[in-house]
């Protein structure tokens, strides 16, 4: 099993890399399509802003490659959000109203309506999942995962797990070979370890 971390140069690859290394994977990190095609599965990490990650994807001409791959791909946090059609997360002090994303799933990234609770939604929160998606095999219902975000994808037909913070939102999505988790499995202790293990076993 050869796993590739898609590097958009938008940071925080080491923690993902280390988490996968703990699972004894053969891992490459690359922004180059020719190298990426040799892998069996992909991780698309994302810490930063939607704009920074989308810029990275444009700079390395990876949009077509990512959207057309038939191999399993797991987006983490922003790596999940950019699978939507567009994001309303725009830079501070900017006239831009939205950022065009990969349009893999028909959804929009919106600000969390936290009902006066502090934003970002930061810390350990519980998720609910009802169906038998193999991504959550051997993970207890209401398990805690680590979240850090202010924007989210609302619950939609591709939602496979939800979380609540003022509103219900997608904690995980799945469409065909595309998976995404809003939380950070690489930072979610044992539960996160199991989820990454499940993704590798898919």
């Amino acid at each position: 099993m050869k796993l590739a971390i898609i590097d958009t140069k938008a940071c925080n690859l080491n923690s993902v890399y280390q988490a996968l290394k703990r699972l004894d994977c053969d891992i490459i990190t690359s922004s180059n399509e020719k190298e990426l095609v040799q892998a069996d599965k992909y991780i698309l990490p994302g810490v930063g802003s939607a704009q920074a990650v989308m810029h990275g994807i444009e700079n390395f001409h990876l949009q077509e490659f990512i959207c057309n791959t038939k191999k399993d791909l797991l987006g983490i946090c922003l790596g999940m959000q950019i699978q939507a059609k567009e994001s309303l997360e725009v830079p501070l002090n900017s006239d831009v109203t939205n950022i065009a994303c990969l349009n893999i799933i028909d959804a929009c990234v919106q600000k969390i309506d936290s009902k006066e609770q502090a934003l970002p939604h930061m810390g350990w929160n519980q998720i609910s999942f009802s169906d038998n998606n193999p991504l959550f095999a051997n993970i207890s219902p209401n398990a805690f995962f680590y979240f850090v975000h202010s924007y989210c994808i609302a619950v939609n037909p591709y939602t496979i797990a939800t979380c609540n913070y003022g509103m219900d939102f997608s904690a995980a999505i799945n469409k065909d070979n595309f998976y995404g988790v809003q939380f950070h499995p690489e930072k979610s202790g044992l539960n996160g370890h199991k989820l990454l293990e499940n993704f590798i076993k898919l």
Partner: protein
Amino acid sequence: MLAKRIIPCLDVKDGVVVKGVQFRNHEIVGDIVTLAKHYADTGADELVFYDISASADNKRVSKDWVSKIASCINIPFAVAGGIRTIEDAAEILANGADKISINSPALADPNLITKLADRFGVQCIVVGIDSYYDKTTDSYLVKQFTGNEHKTVTTKWQTLDWVATVQKLGAGEIVLNMMNQDGMKNGYDLVQLAKVRAICHVPLIASGGAGNMQHFYDAFTIGKVEGALAASVFHKGEIAIGDLKNYLIERGVCIRD
């Protein structure tokens, strides 16, 4: 439900974990990686590594230990200390830190907060505030360069004004170090926390003063903070994180078990 966070803080000086009383007289506590792993394994929800020598000595936090920490723990951690530029921040985040915390450099150049937030997202940007209660004027004042006693200065900022300002500039979280309480173990300053909480719309972390389990309970229930940070009670083994979590869970606080 979002769990309240228990956050051991590891003050780092010259590559080792230290702890002083009221920011002075630092004594060595132990090795960074060993302590990080110990806390992650015993239930800490997050760790903060604060290089207290960095800003005052005009040098940057060394990055090799950031990468070492990332390789041995699987919970989030923040790194603080002398981060002045986008490049500084990018390197630390790329090495596996989840958040960067800025304190003195934000006071020197408040726009740095916005630059970092635009580049990395507000969720990565923690602003640490060293707040000192001045009895003579009955006011809370922000201090700068607290890592070195001889270089510490009182800024022009009142704490509440600075809290409001950093949020506007793009801070994603605020760690409020209540300096009068630091190392005293008399509990967090609940009066100050209430004042800050009222105007703080990003996650607020209480720091300075934890001495027993009740102090954590009070910070969460009365202070209504998202997280409580402490050092010596953990480093000296006076409170085990597992015991603290059980204590809080029994009293109805939402805690990651």
